[in-house]
Symmetry: D2
């Protein structure tokens, strides 16, 4: 029975397992028998790897058991027999998100405006930066701002301190809003598929530094931006969202940077939205975005 | 179990009914019990009207009963109890499609190239026109071309003859590829949700004649095209697909017409593709496109 | 001789007049003779109305006379003989822009972030609203916020007060950032082609109130936003910029509103950018955007 | 004085030279003094290289001297003194275009439909292929079809024969409409900036073979197509036009190929249109497209 999902207490189940017949029937029956009303269901089977994926969202108002008991029961009667990986989320849970920035403000402003206006149901307990440039913006919005200057020598040590702070603040996910430092593989390991970056090119074109310069040099007619989960290897993590904008020969590098800023804001915010709404599943180095 | 859908013998079930709990579980269980393997499932519940919609595609290689028997069984045990409207299609069935044209060739060429190259699994037994202008193109592709000149006085009579011919040729659906005549409500009644038109504007903006002139006059920065099912009322049927292209102040009406041609081809072909792949459900005056 | 336009002191000349032969030669020769170096030239002739338009931007570093004298000389020797309408701007002049809002914050945040980060070379001396809802945002950015509640009876009187305030603050142009009141023709007359509105639909489709509801009801596959100069008649002023985003049958009205917000920010900010960079000429009810 | 450019006898002048002051004034005065009426003017100065570029189109109805004499006079009095490179074209000249194909028909059909319907003012004296697969399409349209099977050993020899044939047919430009052979640098040298290719990816992402497979493997959310002039080095020539289309995780490689086909047709046809209308200037490895 459908209702306005965003105003309703729902649960979201993300599942993957080896494909076999009857999976949809088995899972949906289990929800039904526990008085859950499905409001959204999407499934996909990877035809090469023969892996089954599903996102299920259901109304839990009349659920016959508490949600954590439901999880336990699901684990016993379905997930173990079928060898599933799964996560269960309640829509009312507010994720806690840290923002990492350097000295460019456009993505930070855009995110804080979304959080502050209630567009995103998320808490931002802290902002981390390698510079103090953007501290006044954090102050405007009343958010803690922590500066960790990074040099080759201090990087390991500073990341250790950042991890302590993130743990202390119970951070669930991290958004790199034009953060100009490369995170170490060790750091990334603490937040698998939970660090979202915005890269200012249409990956895999122009990875690395100064993509707008490279795009201008190559004479492309379109520039792009790519939001992806961060993995140990630079600019190669699973892509969540991409978009593009047209450019002309008369556009200077400054024009590309200007047009690109709007694109970065848009693409990053869409990726974060999908992540927060539990729309994204990661498989190998790709994402499934059920949106 | 997933396979390459397009190379596989599948069945496609399109369902709508009043929403209630357990529908997905009930339907998928029925497929499973008859040894059908679901390869694609999409569902949607209209939250205002409380209506449930589903598109199911499943591999019928190991189906325990012939597909028509399956249909009968589904009708008895599921569709009647739940008050469903439903249609069942086998992917191997080739629809028979008539094309209506007037004197513009771009959509006709585009469609015939797709049919001829095997991109669309469809038969085109005839082309109907109110002019003989495009007859040479039909001849190039070896397709029967029938001219029915239309005037106010002859319209009813000519449409009657067209209907006889369409029936004789066992036509399933009709594509109006820039056909410049308005079909009468009577004619339309014979092919409900089976006549696809391309209108050269971003509906509901600029309905009726000469939309490129109106767009130019209004000074819009974007023009569009809209493909929709034809209903009794002009340019107001359920929209299947739309797209747009940017224009500038320096673009003359001729430029709009030129840019619009490419858009019309693209939008019409996408709409027809969705229709042929049984991706479209019509509800009230809207479409659900499961693509 | 080209340089980075944005870092250079340039002058911008916008011209329109009845077309005749030799206009480009005459105008560019005049610039050249006064030691102005053209960095950008765009011209267009309306073929139906036979009107000539030109935007010229030139480096004034070596200009042989001060810019205001240049204007006087241009008026005498070129503009009067050819019956031209023209405006002359120095790139270093910072326009003064007022923002009108009601209770939605997304466009306001977006604009203030652009101003505050220096992306736009503009001063914002005040924000006007018919509600006090967004006053805390103005405070964050240290900008005066004035509330003028509007009712049918008080509208005329309140607009008079607004005009006094705008004059006092030497405002050049006004941005309606989702301002929910309709300005009276009298008010609009004080700022011809200098009030920029954002309408949340792809005009001329869905003018007036609640366009997202109408778009949902009509079942469109694309929604849009339109930024235009305000004229006496509602939602029919000259369009500066438009853009669109795809929607699906599963998108609720809330989803349309959410997707639309990002579109509104983007389209409004592009229109304001073109206006601030003196890229826009208005002719009849259309714009020429030299970008 | 403006008229409908496409119905008017115009001349098009494409110019590049070292930038200096007064160029626009000098050139436009020369046109004016010879009774040419400018209908379109675009200019651009590359700020890094300090190079001036201009495209001028003017009505030659009242030109005081024949167009070839005009060219000679321009060379003497303007081009030599300023060290210009320039080309002069009459709009009534019909270019002669060869099409190279392999076994995919979609671009070929699209091009032939445009030529045959008069959308492009161009003659196609021959089609060249390394297979005979598409010969029936050439026959439908009454165009000579020549098969040159290519192997490593015969490539040089076959290209020599192709060049003889192209010369014999007085071919001006070549369109590679999904031609699967790599042209040798020697061959390319005969048609500098006159061979247009369509590559089925968003270059510089996914150069080389099987870009749709690579795009699927990488999990991109957008695929593209790129049309460029062919140079000695594979897939790195000056880009004329690019465009993109969205894809989803559920899109198989077959879906990418299908969506990509429409993109390839569109992007290639836009590039050829710009080339035919003399809108493109090549500088270093980039294009200026005055459209």
């Amino acid at each position: 029975m459908a209702t306005n999902v965003q105003d309703t207490r729902t649960a979201i189940l993300l599942i993957s397992c080896a494909d076999c017949t009857g999976l949809v029937a088995t899972i949906t029956r289990f929800i039904h028998e526990n008085n859950g009303n499905i409001v959204d269901l999407e499934q996909y089977v990877d035809p090469e790897e023969n892996v089954f994926f599903m996102r299920l969202e259901w109304d839990i108002e009349y659920l016959s058991i508490p949600l954590d008991e439901f999880g336990n029961a699901f684990q016993e009667s379905i997930a173990i027999p079928y060898g599933m990986e799964w996560t269960l989320h309640a829509s009312v849970d507010r994720p806690r998100m840290a923002i990492f920035v350097s000295s460019l403000s456009h993505c930070l402003y855009d995110i804080l405006a979304r959080v502050h206006s209630g567009e995103w149901a998320v808490d931002v307990p802290l902002i981390i930066s390698n510079h103090d440039t953007l501290e006044p913006i954090a102050q405007k919005f009343g958010i803690d701002f922590h500066v960790f200057p990074i040099s080759r020598d201090t990087k390991h040590e500073q990341e250790e301190k950042q991890l302590v702070l993130l743990k202390e603040k119970e951070v669930d996910c991290i958004v790199l809003a034009r953060y100009m430092q490369i995170l170490s593989p060790d750091f990334v390991d603490h937040y698998p598929s939970r660090i979202i970056n915005i890269h200012h090119s249409f990956l895999p074109a122009f990875p690395g530094a100064k993509p707008y310069h490279s795009a201008h040099e190559r004479g492309v007619k379109i520039i792009g931006a790519t939001s992806h989960y961060v993995t140990a290897e630079l600019d190669t993590g699973p892509i969540i969202e991409q978009d593009i904008v047209r450019v002309r020969h008369a556009d200077s590098i400054d024009d590309l940077v200007r047009k690109g800023r709007d694109l970065e804001k848009l693409v990053l915010s869409r990726a974060v939205w999908h992540h927060l709404r539990r729309k994204v599943l990661v498989f190998r180095n790709r994402t499934l975005v059920f949106a």
